[in-house]
Symmetry: C2
Subunit: 290 residues, 2 copies
């Protein structure tokens, strides 16, 4: 964050029906739709990284959008992660995984670790961090951290998400006081270990669409990196995110997807130019918050 | 369930380091470890299906175990799903996905639907049902159902899981009364639509390790199919699951993985014979409950 002077994470959630012009140029004329679509999706993501990447500190890959293209989609995911890394970006796997311990271990191996096999170790995606769901509780999250930590990767736990449905469970008031999401926040604080910067290796997803919770989230998770989705298309405003950066400039990562990728909608400019301009605008706005 | 006289779901969560003998027979002598391991994993799963499948109604594929082998793992996943289908088994994708609406749509396309692309539609895994996490609330689950329903697929929502950490969030008492998991159960009932049998297309995961909750879960979700993990290796007993079957024999699906697949541990028998015997024992025990 300090080196790039950016807290912006570029969200990549490619829809094969809405790719940048030119994405299909290298697609073979024949072949299974999944393979052809995956080539186009990878080209689209690479172009976005090339355009907007310099204003960002990381790229967040939405795994759902790659998985729906099957094995070729998973190949595209690995290729895009590699391209982002080569562009100097941190790679965040937006996976929202959560499972019982033995399966959580397998997910962490897939995303940040490696899997021992009789044929040699199989490297995972090599993500610098991935998102996880807290619904299964502490043991399930601990299993993820156990694999991620030695790989130098972080785990970003869903605490208070950016969607309207966040109110259905996460904001329910508990008999012992406070809303449910504060217990998820307590798990984050409990599981995280601080590094040299004071920031911990277990962070949290806190939606930018409900900034009224941000100061409280920061108080409950003083050392956590807060991933802040929901700016732009979902209605969140970067100006409301100051509490995330109060302790440390890298304490908040502002993620934006559609508002950067489709910044030219209606504007008539080239998508690359508009994307870079929007990422740069967001970068400056967040950096100005301290 | 009626046709096969079985409520047993065969859990497949392959560990490349612990495969059945012979699984590596068709593995090429050279090639990337991921590709070789995926061939062995697929052979292992096919052998288990062939051995234990006749006593079961479905196969539950743990996606984490395939994802950790990357694109070849996803190919193996599709091959195993296809083999299970050919063996007359329902295919349950144990994915525990949950994301904001637009990404939830993509996950449902990956697992049960199809993705429209300029190169033609890309078929998903073709699962008959998949598991999902409720942490993001109603809108996130509704987006999954919206894709699954027209595909004839069910969504099985995590309600009260089988792991020790289930107590950390799911059992927290709410200010308005009841534990959190009952609100997840209410979402299941709210979102499900009943078919001819009276069973609904949104079901629930309720751990067999906490049978004290089963009667209450059934009361809150009268038409839901309850997927019951945790029998065997995790300590649950099939005899305690009667409330799940009270309304309908297909109202409960007993899933077992390690206790079937590694039934021969210590016994000295062939794994296929032991697996079939254990699946048959479980089938008979559950069927006897009504």
């Amino acid at each position: 964050v300090a080196r790039r002077e950016s807290q912006v994470v570029l969200g990549l959630d490619p829809d094969p029906a809405r790719l940048w012009p030119g994405s299909a140029d290298a697609v073979p004329a024949e072949g299974p739709p999944a393979k052809r679509a995956a080539v186009a999706v990878a080209a689209h993501c690479r172009a976005i990284i090339d355009a907007a990447g310099p204003a960002c500190v990381g790229a967040k890959l939405q795994l759902a959008c790659f998985e729906r293209l099957g094995a070729p989609g998973w190949d595209a995911l690995a290729a895009v992660a590699s391209h982002a890394r080569d562009a100097g970006l941190l790679v965040l796997a937006d996976a929202k995984r959560g499972d019982i311990a033995v399966s959580a271990t397998a997910y962490a191996q897939a995303l940040a670790g490696a899997t021992p096999t009789p044929f040699g170790p199989v490297a995972g995606l090599g993500a610098d961090a991935f998102t996880a769901s807290p619904y299964l509780g502490r043991d399930a999250l601990a299993a993820l951290v156990e694999v991620a930590r030695p790989a130098g990767a972080g785990v970003l736990v869903l605490v208070r998400t950016s969607n309207p449905g966040a109110r259905d469970l996460q904001e329910l008031a508990l008999a012992d006081g406070g809303p449910l999401w504060e217990r998820a926040a307590a798990l984050v604080t409990d599981l995280g270990e601080a590094g040299e910067t004071g920031l911990t290796d277990v962070g949290a997803v806190v939606g930018a669409t409900a900034p009224e919770h941000l100061a409280r989230a920061r108080a409950l998770m003083p050392g956590a990196v807060l991933l802040l989705p929901g700016v732009g298309a979902q209605g969140g405003r970067v100006e409301d995110l100051a509490p995330a950066f109060a302790e440390h400039r890298a304490g908040g990562l502002v993620t934006a997807s559609r508002s950067i990728v489709h910044a030219d909608t209606g504007g008539g400019g080239a998508p690359a130019t508009s994307a870079r301009a929007e990422a740069e605008r967001l970068r400056a706005a967040a950096w100005a918050l301290g």
